[in-house]
């Protein structure tokens, strides 16, 4: 029995394969297009983001029909807010009812934004993660876009819950200032989303914990953000953490808007919420880069997984 020749060949150099000469001559081999200049890269990044959003909207169309969203999800949201608002009735304290209703309605948007930690793991399930890591653009852009369905649903359900249940529970709404709550809720949605993206980068390593992490996230943000009780209820250091978390400033702004407070305060709260969101977006981008690089080192990114 002869031994198979080793790839090193007899002279120790790797065995070379000589293709038929016609190939080289006729192939007209041209080097691959080099990565485009900066303007082109930005355009390509937005294009990738656009497609990721498209994927999110396609998911939304499958997750909900307008019927199941309205009579299913929205009904649950209304029950959730009513559940907390009714505690004020148990306490026989109208001010508590107002406080709980507003907080519970606004936190809905954070709750839905937190779904991004779970839905990001769908990339892992779909087997596209290694392909994203291997692509020039990298995975972060895709993850930013592919879960925006929760932003859409969350913003809608939080606003509807607030403006429909407030009159039912007798919570006074000072129009037109109260309408400022709508854009504020959008800002809270975005900042919560950015924070949840950061956690998604970690959850991708341990997908089993995706729902647990998502739920703990929005609950903690709510507790420290003044949803159920004012932040002054908590010890100083606990309350301080909430300063850099999403929702805190935006919710404070919503409470001011509904009470017809000064525009300057509302704008300041909005600005703080934007700053918090932007900060977490940057951290999330770094976390995703670390995920990709870490995955390359440890081999945790599986082909076809």
């Amino acid at each position: 029995m002869t031994q198979p020749p080793s790839a090193a060949g007899q002279d120790g150099a790797p065995t070379r394969f000589a293709p038929p000469t016609q190939r080289d001559a006729e192939s007209g081999y041209a080097p691959t297009v080099e990565p485009p200049a900066t303007a082109g890269r930005v355009a390509a990044t937005f294009e990738a983001l656009r497609y990721a959003c498209l994927s999110a909207l396609a998911d939304l169309a499958v997750i909900y029909t307008w019927k199941t969203w309205t009579f299913g999800w929205l009904a649950r949201v209304l029950c959730q807010v009513a559940f907390f608002a009714l505690i004020g009735r148990l306490l026989q304290n109208p001010a508590t009812t107002d406080y709980l209703l507003i907080g519970s309605a606004v936190v809905i948007v954070t709750m839905e934004a937190a779904f991004v930690t779970a839905s990001s793991t769908w990339e892992r399930g779909a087997g596209t993660l290694p392909l994203l890591v291997a692509a020039p653009t990298g995975p972060f852009v895709v993850f930013v876009g592919r879960s925006i369905q929760w932003l859409i649903s969350g913003t809608a359900s939080a606003n509807i819950a607030l403006f429909v249940l407030a009159p039912i529970f007798g919570v006074p709404l000072a129009f037109p200032t109260a309408l400022a709550a709508i854009p504020l809720i959008v800002l809270i949605a975005l900042s919560s989303y950015c924070f949840a993206l950061l956690l998604a980068a970690f959850v991708l390593r341990v997908p089993t914990f995706r729902n647990i992490v998502g739920n703990i996230t929005w609950w903690t943000i709510g507790l420290l953000g003044g949803v159920q009780v004012p932040v002054t209820f908590w010890p100083g250091w606990v309350g301080a953490i909430g300063e850099v978390l999403p929702l805190r400033h935006g919710l404070a702004g919503v409470r001011v808007a509904i009470a017809g407070g000064p525009a300057a305060t509302i704008l300041r709260d909005a600005g703080l919420e934007i700053a918090v969101g932007a900060g977490w977006l940057v951290v999330a981008a770094l976390a995703f880069r670390r995920l990709a690089e870490g995955g390359r080192r440890t081999g945790s990114i599986e082909f076809g997984e």
């Binding site: 080793s6 497609y51 390359r296």
Partner: protein, 317 residues
């Protein structure tokens, strides 16, 4: 021009982790060169290191030691250039956005590969046509058959006009017709001077489309050879199969010069192994004189070589 793929001393060791107390060597000093325009097969059992090698080449995994270059670019130092040049084609259901259409999937990946939009639009039309999905371009991928998804995978791997493609067990689970069509597509890659690295368990496929195959086992490279001549790893000489061959005839065959073994196959057949020039003719003459008409000659097949080299493992992985 540098070769499409050049690997020297490539090693990947996984440190002890979790329940595994020892380090695991997935690749152990692999040396390999794949020239431009070659379709190169990687054969080996599960866990041999084929996928690890593919992951390193596609920059999804870092090597522990050694060098790997794609198109002359270093997979660790020149990651961005390598990523722009290499296309990954999975087998199976994974890696596609099933709720998007075929066209949208390709547009998506084109954007991720920074292909300018105008070029991408034109190329997507060409690719869909080429892989035979033009009339299903705007249907959701979740409605596609396995074979169609695989063809879309291939189109996806070409969307940035990548010159090097890695196909990871692409025809697993495909029916023979779909697999046959897919192989024709892969052969057409060769005509465009694209390099294809293909991992497969399918010997027939490897024999049909690969210019050369490399056998890997336990992270080590066992050898590289043209599948049509790989039989000489086992035997430099032809074997003769014939039936029906009664026992007495088999005994007289065994007595011939240059015959090393007369192996029983099926119920009444034999496989005669030779090890000398001219032995085959003597065997054939004996059989024909005895009136046996069902005779074939040949070298060991790729599958035989594989089983011989990789070894009988039973059901153990």
């Amino acid at each position: 021009m540098p070769p499409a793929v050049e690997i020297v001393g490539l090693t990947r060791v996984y440190p002890p982790a979790g329940k595994r107390a020892t380090a695991r060597t997935a690749l152990d000093g692999i040396d390999l060169v794949v020239e431009r325009g070659e379709v190169h097969g990687l054969l080996g059992p599960n866990g041999a290191g084929k996928t690890t090698l593919c992951k390193i080449l596609s920059t999804v995994l870092l090597p522990t030691a050694g060098v790997a270059r794609v198109d002359g670019y270093h997979v660790v130092k020149d990651t961005a250039q390598v990523r722009a040049r290499i296309g990954i084609v999975f087998g199976g259901e994974r890696g596609l956005y099933t709720r998007l259409t075929a066209r949208q999937n390709l547009g998506y990946w084109a954007a991720l590969y920074r292909v300018p939009r105008k070029i991408a639009t034109r190329r997507i039309v060409e690719l869909l046509d080429r892989v035979g999905l033009a009339d299903r371009a705007d249907e959701r991928v979740e409605t596609f058959s396995r074979g169609m998804k695989q063809r879309l995978h291939l189109a996806r791997g070409l969307v940035a006009d990548q010159r090097v493609l890695i196909l990871d067990e692409p025809t697993t689970g495909m029916d023979p017709v779909a697999a046959h069509d897919f192989r024709a597509l892969v052969r057409s890659m060769r005509a465009e001077s694209r390099t294809v690295l293909l991992t497969t368990h399918d010997m027939a496929e490897a024999e049909a489309i690969c210019d050369r195959v490399t056998m890997i086992d336990g992270g080590r490279l066992l050898g590289t050879e043209d599948p049509r001549t790989i039989g000489r790893w086992i035997s430099a000489y032809e074997r003769v199969e014939a039936r029906p061959v009664p026992g007495s005839l088999a005994a007289s065959l065994a007595a011939l010069n240059g015959v090393t073994e007369v192996e029983s196959i099926d119920d009444d057949g034999v496989r005669v192994h030779t090890a000398a020039e001219g032995a085959t003719q003597a065997v054939l003459r004996t059989l024909v004189d005895a009136g046996v008409t069902a005779i074939t000659t040949g070298r060991p097949s790729l599958e035989e070589v594989y089983l011989h080299v990789i070894g009988a493992r039973g059901l153990a992985v």
